[in-house]
Symmetry: C2
Subunit: 231 residues, 2 copies
Amino acid sequence: MAISRIASLRAGLRALAGRKNGVRVNEFNVPRLFLYHRALVEVSKQGVSVVTSESLAELCANDVTPTQIRKDLSQLGTLGRRGHGYQVAALLDLLARVLGLDQDWRIAIVGFGYLGHALTTFLSYREERFKIAALFDKAPDVIGQKWNDLTVRHIDELESTLRELGGVDIAVLAVPSKAAQEVAERVAAAGVDAILNFAPIALRVPEQVFARNIDLAGELSILTHYLTGSD
Amino acid sequence: MAISRIASLRAGLRALAGRKNGVRVNEFNVPRLFLYHRALVEVSKQGVSVVTSESLAELCANDVTPTQIRKDLSQLGTLGRRGHGYQVAALLDLLARVLGLDQDWRIAIVGFGYLGHALTTFLSYREERFKIAALFDKAPDVIGQKWNDLTVRHIDELESTLRELGGVDIAVLAVPSKAAQEVAERVAAAGVDAILNFAPIALRVPEQVFARNIDLAGELSILTHYLTGSD
DNA sequence: AAATGTGAAGAGGTTCACAGCG
DNA sequence: CGCTGTGAACCTCTTCACATTT
């Protein structure tokens, strides 16, 4: 079976439920909204201008039912036309706004090894809303490396660089796990409120900071658990 | 607030609920079990031999309550001693068995760009149970590259190489999104039942194949949604 | 006729409160 | 007394069925 679904948040996000342009959004399904957004970008390129909840479900390919889509979208307002479907353009705009994808975001990549490099390349190539604003590392042979117009700075210049830049929105941590906690605290102290952490540890961050982990070993372990079960 | 939780599966996994060494496991909380496992590995190194559900919750740092831990663990059997706590060693063994981390797994990395390289390095360095068994790419300048004892093969040799190796357990897809669907089908046809996909598309895979996505843009989008909400 | 929007029912995970046991 | 183990209450998300609207 195909289970390719964006990470969901569970308990943690419940506390976040809030208002969004006056509309109460169930924060729990943000990953699904993102799936819809991606699918719509795709069909939009192909010139499709109307989708139904059924065709959109088909586009998302996995485990999303038409009913679920209607329920999710209905939270955002009355968006469709009965007997007809949803306007792709309008829906795209709305989802982009709700997801925050209607504006640019500045990102600092901390740790410019293979992973940091890969993430940087991926983002700059594929996600135009995410602007790489600063690169940091600790290794002498990495510091000073150029990437497009950016130079990799020493991690000790984190605070001063961010100050110069007027801050960044998101910090991506691609550093060894021993360093991750300290780096997280430093970027948080420097005013960054969102962290995407690739180090396999449970970060402790200040209250206002939203940290999210991508845990490779954890993901693999879900697979091995599955493989073990189907002996 | 810290929300660093491993991706959970939701609907998809429900269908998987099954028996595991005669114990019915709620497949929904595998990511949590993995968190416990990791925390226990850590304290085990420090010589701690007993934990309580409370101390374990503290170690996991985020959004896990002692009650939740007891509930999760009680699914696996009667593991603790009332008035005392859990034996770290015994619990570690059990969790490893349940998660499939008590055995080696052979992994093929498809796509040996920066990301593939990073994943390969990470796994071989940090996760001894995951053995990199084969590397594939399509770019002429990457093919033939050496990594430890392995040589990067052309993707067209996927089937023959896997046959030679007697198969692998998991395929990690670090290829461009245009290529991902085709690669997924090929590795599935070659007998690989577990896929970890980094390409930002919804994979369609055969019934018996368990595919899991890690979606960088999706994760960032959760962050930007949060940042937008707290304007 | 067709597809949305939605109250109500259902399912499943989480929390509570306390019984049970060492 | 302390901490686990667990049925029951609770709560949230999902699914169903159909009224509603174009």
